[in-house]
Symmetry: C2
């Protein structure tokens, strides 16, 4: 069976978003610092239709991260648009052509029709929980992997349920001092570091989760 | 001038000791799991007068960690013996010949005469704060380094004061779920990963602190 994976940038003090998060500022105060390492790369700039950026160890990591998996699952807050019943004019943060290019399943308590976008991304809204979303994502992915994109709560739920096979952390040497923690309420899974890639900016550690 | 360094094992969720710490159990629940990687090495076993243990990447790291620096600073709780005025029968956790073999300065609010031990360790009790302890430790260390041994509070105080030059973390892939956090109340220092050593058990990351 294909693997369920997650890759996510985390501060050295354990946060995937900074303090004072709002619906308009889901990364919170200082949270954009978690992603500067990726934005600095040639891979990220190219993927966003721009010139420049650095070819580096981090760029190679980003190339790998940008390769489509089979399907993506994300939490409601990562998709955005606020809590409660849907404002159907909200189509995510990513414009008309989101960078996923594959089926994306959004965990929510509020039903909404599937939302096809340009470039191969379709957002499907799943109201029957993480297992239901995973079942649909696996069916869409075939023999390819399913990626849990975030945020913290979605990752925590899959990890706590023993459904995550791989956690690839990008450990960014900043201290946010508060915000949204990644590794809490997840029980005590066995994590094995199976690959470490070091750059001057960030330490990438891939953990296999023994379920 | 010589450097002020700290090396410490930390769980993936950021703790240097587990929950439910007591004076008799300063590592708290599960805290010993932070040190299993070191105890498993041939270097650690040899240093404790035993046979066996593994020759490995981690063993080489332990060899390096066990090399004396010039002087050591530790917090009162790490030295142990409970809070308040000293019970002078308490001579630390380490027996008659502690493994430091160099001057050790203990941060405390309660005066006590210096305590010479076998093997070159002398515990000196410093009541005038972290700067006073560092001054004494630097004088004792000469051109060699001063190591902040722990616990979390001592490391935090030196880091927050801009007095720490290097933080060498041994990132252990366990989740303690609670306990004593290392990286809080330290402000926002600039940390540069300058060396990463990966083993199947733990990821060692050396950060230079830009003060």
């Amino acid at each position: 069976m294909s693997a369920v994976t997650c890759q996510i940038s985390v501060s050295l003090d354990g946060f995937v978003a900074g303090p004072d998060q709002t619906p308009e500022d889901p990364l919170g105060k200082g949270g954009e610092r978690l992603h500067e390492w990726a934005v600095a790369t040639e891979s990220w700039q190219r993927q966003h239709g721009r010139q420049g950026g650095e070819r580096s160890t981090d760029s190679e990591v980003v190339d790998e991260l940008l390769a489509p998996v089979g399907a993506v699952i994300m939490g409601r807050r990562m998709f955005g648009g606020g809590d409660g019943p849907w404002d159907e004019t909200w189509k995510g943060w990513w414009g008309e052509e989101p960078p996923f290019h594959e089926p994306v399943f959004v965990l929510t308590h509020h039903p909404r029709d599937p939302l096809p976008m340009e470039g191969g991304t379709t957002f499907t809204f799943v109201t029957d929980g993480i297992e239901g979303a995973l079942e649909q994502a696996r069916a869409a992915a075939g023999d390819r992997d399913v990626a849990i994109a975030g945020g913290a709560s979605a990752v925590q739920q899959y990890l706590a349920a023993g459904l995550l096979d791989e956690l690839y952390l990008h450990l960014v040497p900043v201290l946010l001092g508060g915000g949204e923690r990644l590794l809490e309420n997840v029980g005590d899974p066995v994590l094995e570091p199976v690959e470490v890639v070091a750059s001057p900016a960030v330490t990438h550690i891939r953990y296999r989760v023994r379920n």
